[in-house]
């Protein structure tokens, strides 16, 4: 399957929830430390089957991009989290001169995570290194609400796939927290790991199951009804686990990427949890996604400036 050479190290990749061939990638020069970012929309079908995907939209930004998310309500709208603390909304259907369509500047420090509500589809969250999360609606000029409580950088946010008001956040204060947008404080504080928690995701099929990924090289699966001990612990990565994501199609299936330059597929309910290990990247893998529309279609990007798209069970490097 195709691979795409990005102009800079990749930080995030997302499949479009509308078009099965569309892919969003956030890249940053110089590993996100300094320099510009690029938001890229790839079309897998534009250049013919098997060929390298072509960027149909590429927008440079003044600061590094750490994460991106497609809108669930508008097929060409997407959001990018920037290193200068702003969140930008882009419309890929508009020419670059009219982009970004919105510049949301409220966070005091780098925004590291974005997630669009997949249930109600009208709001999204940003997680920032200023220890807060903010709830945004694309029809509002300012944030709807700010969530405070974390004591260190918040690295990721994830909406529950089944409950429109519930989301979870992963933070460097070694906790994951579950929030309800109607409640002033988190409904659950989960001391999830011994090190910073970098990412988390909800099981799409079981509304109580949550997976967290941490610097301690492990992934833990939690049941929010019994937060004393994890349901499962997935060990196998050699370095910090950067992102974790549940499969939209198969219950219990997870995808993770790590600083050990591998992408792993897991089934936390199986005896032998590790399903597959891909070491196609030659640098840190920073972004992964699983297609909502095509069962088993995976994507990854990393600091080797490559974006790979491949079906589960095949070699990503095989064209």
């Amino acid at each position: 399957m195709p691979a795409f050479k990005a102009p800079a190290p990749g930080f995030a990749v997302r499949f479009s929830p509308f078009h099965e061939n569309r892919l969003l990638a956030a890249t940053s020069q110089h590993f996100g430390l300094v320099g510009n970012g690029h938001l890229i929309v790839l079309d897998l079908a534009a250049a013919g089957p098997g060929a390298a995907p072509a960027p149909v939209f590429s927008f440079p930004t003044s600061d590094a991009l750490f994460d991106c998310a497609w809108s669930e309500s508008h097929e060409s709208l997407c959001a990018a989290a920037s290193g200068d603390g702003s969140v930008r909304l882009f419309d890929a259907a508009l020419p670059p001169a009219q982009n970004p369509v919105r510049l949301l500047r409220e966070h005091a420090r780098e925004v590291h995570g974005l997630d669009w509500n997949p249930v109600r589809r009208d709001a999204f969250l940003s997680a920032s290194w200023d220890d807060t999360l903010k709830l945004w609606s694309p029809d509002r000029p300012a944030s709807v609400r700010t969530f405070r409580g974390h004591e260190y950088c918040v690295y990721a946010a994830a909406w529950s796939a089944r409950h429109p008001d519930v989301f979870a956040s992963a933070s460097g204060d070694r906790t994951a927290r579950v929030w309800d947008v109607r409640d002033p404080a988190p409904t659950l504080i989960l001391p999830a790991h011994d090190h910073e928690v970098l990412s988390l995701d909800w099981d799409k099929y079981d509304p109580s199951i949550l997976a967290t990924a941490s610097v301690d090289k492990s992934i833990r699966v939690w049941d929010v009804r019994a937060p004393r001990a994890p349901v499962a612990q997935l060990a196998g990565h050699g370095y910090a686990v950067k992102r974790v994501r549940f499969s939209p199609h198969r219950q219990g299936m997870l995808m993770s990427c790590s600083y050990d330059m591998t992408v792993c597929m897991w089934d936390y309910r199986a005896e032998d949890a590790l399903l597959a290990r891909y070491n196609h990247h030659t640098e840190f893998v920073a972004g992964i996604d699983m297609s909502v529309l095509v069962d088993g279609l995976l994507a990854s990007t990393g600091w080797d400036e490559m974006v790979y798209i491949w079906p589960f069970g095949t070699d990503p490097r095989a064209m």
């Binding site: 509308f18 709001a123 796939a161 460097g172 409904t187 099981d203």
Partner: protein, 276 residues
């Protein structure tokens, strides 16, 4: 709202069998309306750095505290300097409060000892070490102590050796006019002292160099002569007789009657010249 196509997990019957989630039932309406109805909406709230730290200090809900970051450590001021003993202390000594000195450790540095020695009464080398010597005096009284250092008693771990200015709490108040003036004068005098000392050292070094070179040539010539004499004697080479020895007993043989000079030498006759 139109929204994206239905998700795979939203098909009927796709829910897992582990039972309902412990959350409040979802509210109707858009997310913004739900938040506003709950009274939690605070549009456009900006987060400042001050709020950040205040929030971090106030909340005590986490069961496990966050590890302290390296840059959050208090009392780190000056700790890294203690006992470091790097050569640049010499240059930062005047004008500072002695804060940069550690307790001992900069001994053995000839530059340093010479600097002190220039004022302490001409003692070079040993005895001048011990950072307390300078740190204890707060920097400007240094040369008075330099003299004491010359006796070698103030050095390692002496009464001043352990006096770390960093352990005295906050830095001293700014010095008065005379103190700062004297400090400046101390710096100026120090400067010229160092310069003159270095010039002297250089002169001395080049003098030693020249002397050593000359001595080397002299001695190597003698060595050569001695060796050559020895080797030649081993080879059995005798020294040529001097002029006076031409009148020796062999000399008449040359001019003897057996040799007739007018005759041309015959072939092979030269072979017999050295024959006997």
């Amino acid at each position: 709202m139109a929204g994206s196509p239905p998700k795979p997990w939203e098909r009927p019957g796709a829910e897992g069998a582990s039972g309902p989630a412990p959350f409040k039932p979802p509210s109707g309406g858009s997310t913004s309306d739900v938040v506003e109805a709950s009274g939690m909406a605070k549009p456009g709230e900006n987060v400042t750095a001050a709020e950040r730290s205040a929030a971090a200090n106030a909340s005590t809900t986490v069961s496990r505290p966050m590890p302290q970051r390296p840059w959050q450590q208090t009392g780190g001021y000056g700790n890294t300097y203690g006992g470091a003993g790097y050569g640049s202390n010499m240059y930062s000594s005047y004008g500072g409060f002695g804060n940069t000195y550690g307790s001992g450790g900069m001994y053995g540095n000839s530059m340093y000892s010479s600097y002190g020695g220039g004022y302490g009464g001409g003692m070079y080398g040993g005895g001048m070490y011990g950072g307390g010597m300078y740190g204890g005096m707060g920097g400007y009284g240094g040369y008075g102590m330099g003299g004491m250092g010359g006796y070698g008693g103030m050095g390692m771990g002496g009464p001043y050796g352990n006096q770390d200015p960093n352990s005295m709490g906050p830095p001293a108040s700014p010095p008065g006019f005379w103190v700062s003036f004297l400090r400046v004068m101390h710096g100026v005098v120090n400067f010229f002292g160092r310069i003159s000392f270095l010039v002297e050292q250089n002169t001395q070094a080049s003098y030693f160099f020249m002397t050593a070179m000359l001595q080397l040539f002299d001695r190597s010539g003698m060595l050569y002569g001695e060796l050559a004499r020895f080797v030649l004697r081993l080879l059995g080479v005798k020294r040529k007789p001097k002029k006076g020895s031409l009148q020796g007993p062999e000399a008449p043989a040359i001019q003897g009657p057996s040799h007739q000079f007018p005759e041309a030498p015959k072939a092979g006759s030269w072979d017999n010249v050295w024959g006997n």
